[in-house]
Chain length 202, copies 2
DNA sequence: ACCTGAACACCGTTCAAGT
DNA sequence: ACCTGAACACCGTTCAAGT
């Protein structure tokens, strides 16, 4: 059911996915699907939560520091997203409130609380890291891949960007496109962690 | 044209907006619309860029520190988003590559370069702040407002969350819902800035 | 009582026919 | 040459009719 929907989204993307398609795969009619969910939006929420259920930190939470724990959690999340790139638009368009999403949040927040974080900072840290990972994954998947491709005219505009008009942007773009990759992910993550370290005693 | 589309999106939301609707307002047919853009997606990209064009920093960039400049820019962006909450789903689902989006990016990156930032850090700072502001605005607009409402079953699940199962999440939720508002925005922004301060010499 | 084919009211996009 | 009404191939959702 949800697995079949996720598989289809993985294969054809959010845009192309339709309930008729799902009904065909399951060899039933579209009307029958509505016995399992109230609307397509609800089904998509289940799909997102299914993906979030695949996020598993390898080491059994025996991390020396909260910095290590955050890093491991963020990387596990990132690896999961890379296996389901087509689900990214759904993750960006909703706050995941399914059981798996909640469980993940609970795990990290509790871990931070255990390391002496005040509760507001722990909660804020979770969303900050989540946004970072999703944002990074989107960037890798290429601009406009999160949802429909941007208009061809705008893409053209972007490609033929005049360095004289946007010197900083173009030079930064060159730097960023020649950057390794996994390296970059860790770098930004370290930035957030540094911020959290400072934030603890503000 | 684009203004009419933005006005409609502001009024009825992304979900309800349709080309027929826009054609009616403009007193023409849907086919006529395609003389101005190649697809609905392209039109939406123009709408997003129109919104980004409304972001204006009040002080004429005479900030003592880059921290002040970033804060002012983020707040200007945030204020603009609050005037166009229904556009948020579009901003989350695409990397804005329109002229106004590029101009904003250029302005901040150049400012950071002027304060001695290395080019990669400046570029990364821009996206980090952008994600933060959009993420914060989404949070204010309420969960699920970015796009369709989450399924009622999931919302119910969220509301009747068992504090015994999710102690950290529920206690954090209580803390977060009773938080002032503008205060919170500045707090998270300060966190990012702290991270950037540390990141400059890593 | 449960299931579902067929219809409903849309949608974005195209194109032949009009001017 | 430009414009556009009408059609095309869909879509999510509903419900009366079948079992």
């Amino acid at each position: 059911m949800v697995s079949a929907a996720l598989k289809l989204v993985d294969e054809v993307g959010v845009q192309a996915f339709s309930l008729r398609m799902l009904a065909d795969v399951l060899e039933s009619g579209t009307a029958t699907l509505y016995r399992h969910f109230a609307s397509k939006d609800e089904l998509m929420a289940y799909v997102v939560d299914r993906v979030l259920g695949e996020v598993h930190v390898t080491g059994q939470e025996d991390f020396a520091t909260w910095q290590d724990a955050i890093t491991a959690g963020a990387e596990a999340f990132y690896e999961t997203l890379r296996r389901h790139l087509n689900v990214l638009p759904l993750l960006m368009a909703q706050v995941p409130v399914g059981p798996n999403g909640l469980a993940n949040r609970e795990r990290l927040i509790q871990l931070l609380l255990g390391h002496g974080f005040p509760v507001e900072l722990a909660a804020r840290a979770f969303t900050a890291i989540g946004h970072y990972v999703v944002g990074f994954a989107v960037q890798q998947h290429g601009p406009g891949s999160a949802g429909p491709e941007s208009g061809p005219q705008l893409l053209d505009f972007y490609r033929h960007l005049d360095p004289a008009t946007y010197p900083a942007t173009t030079s930064a773009a060159e730097e960023l496109t020649t950057v390794p990759l996994e390296e970059e992910f860790r770098f930004g993550l370290r930035l957030i962690i540094k911020g959290l370290e400072s934030g603890r005693d503000v």
